[in-house]
Amino acid sequence: MKCKLLENIKINEDYYLLKFSREGIKAEFQPGQFVTVKLPQQVPGQRLGIPISIYQADTSTFTLFIKILGEGTRILAHAIQDTELDILGPLGQAFTLLTNKTVLLISGGVGYPPLRFLKDKLKDCQITWIHGGKFASDIFPCDHAYTEDGSRGEKGLVTSDLRDILNNQKFDMAYSCGPNPMLKAVASILKDYDIPLEVSLEEYMACGIGVCYGCAVQVVSNDEQPLYKRVCKDGPVFHADEIIWE
């Protein structure tokens, strides 16, 4: 599907907000889902679509929140208004939407966007959002911010004060997205407090729609052989309990 870029807002050197027209896309966009975006030109090693979470969506547009990581995201981030990009989606399984609950959101770096969309869709919930990053430039609106260098919010990781927070407040449900080691740590702490957790995972993808089995994540199996699920189709959102963390 060709989607027109309506607006490209630079947040800082690393992060860009890209708003697209969703004309022609009938499916509803749900928090936790993603799209894949093809680059407008042939770049070596970048012919596959790049998976990007949905950050916001309304009836006529959707917005992506992109961090420049390599050549592909750099080109995307610098796409100019009115460019038509080849986009597939919305793809994958969404977060479970709750109403009237106490909810904890925990994100790291570019794990921020799907939780932001989730936050908009959680009805009548009391939400606490912890967000962390390496530098001040990785921090976006939230309730508790952490940076590894202490340049913004608290110095430390999102997990630094997590047990304290959990000791002080009860949560019905938690959602998390960020780098794998962070998710692993978060899952292990929340398990101690018996709080259900949904995580959104990242894996290298080829098809993005479930046919190639390339984006495998190991999940709990009830036979001897390992069991792998597809992040693109069975996920990217999984119950944390299901995942076998490396």
């Binding site: 080829a206 089995y213 390339g214 984006c215």
Partner: protein
Amino acid sequence: MNLKTKLNKLVFQNPITTASGTFGSEMEEYVNFNKLGAIVTKTITKERKAGNPSPRLYETEWGLLNSIGLQNPGVESFITETIPLYEKYQTPLIVSFSASTQEEFMEVLSRLESVNSISGYEVNVSCPNVENEGLAFGVDAQVVNELTAKLRKLTKKELIIKLTPNVTNIVDIAIAAKEGGADSLALINTLLGMAIDPMTGKSRIMKKICGYSGSAIKPVALANVYRVAQAIDIPILAMGGAENYLDVLEFIYAGASMVAIGTANFYNPAITEKIISDLSQHFSKYNLTMDKIRGKSF
């Protein structure tokens, strides 16, 4: 337009099919399956296969590395869960299967024979043969010949042997399969490839040596198809880097009766339909038929 073609026993409305492992029922949203010449399904095995640990994929400069490890739910689940998804289409269904012993190949085929909606088989011999030091079945002409002969006895349906290009002389293997009773040959499976993160030395793929596909391998695939087509008379289902109708024409000129689209499905899931429509226009415009151009490269 007359895009009709055939392998040995099967006739197809057009020469475009899907490469095993790169296509699935999830594509329904993007492709009208009734438009395809045939559908080749992802390789299945007797029992469920877990597949390889991640990362399983890496896009190199000009191609794709994969190490899926034949993840599949096993033949029983395939028959009950997957086959029905295709039964609503008229398009011939070709089922790819594999095994780690000759006996097991026979068991899987026998089981599949009970399913009427299957039109033919693609035998994936690129996997390790536990009876032969783990060497791929497909690298040994003798083994390919024996295995083909055993499978031939079990089915009257189109029996396609899918060859690996990672051999000294693919013509030897092709002859062995033909003499074993293969109806047709599929080639090529992936090349062996690898990629390394130059900053850390870490292999991009957990299993290190893996399969290499996509546009980058097209010249190799064409050379293999051409060599086999020149050497023996057997229908060829060609694949390896075909991305558009011009690539398909190259394969047909080299000797292919059908062409499967693999990696290109990942760049655009609707690509097969687009190729069929482009090819159809091209055939009309130049008044071509498959017979006029197949194997006619000079």
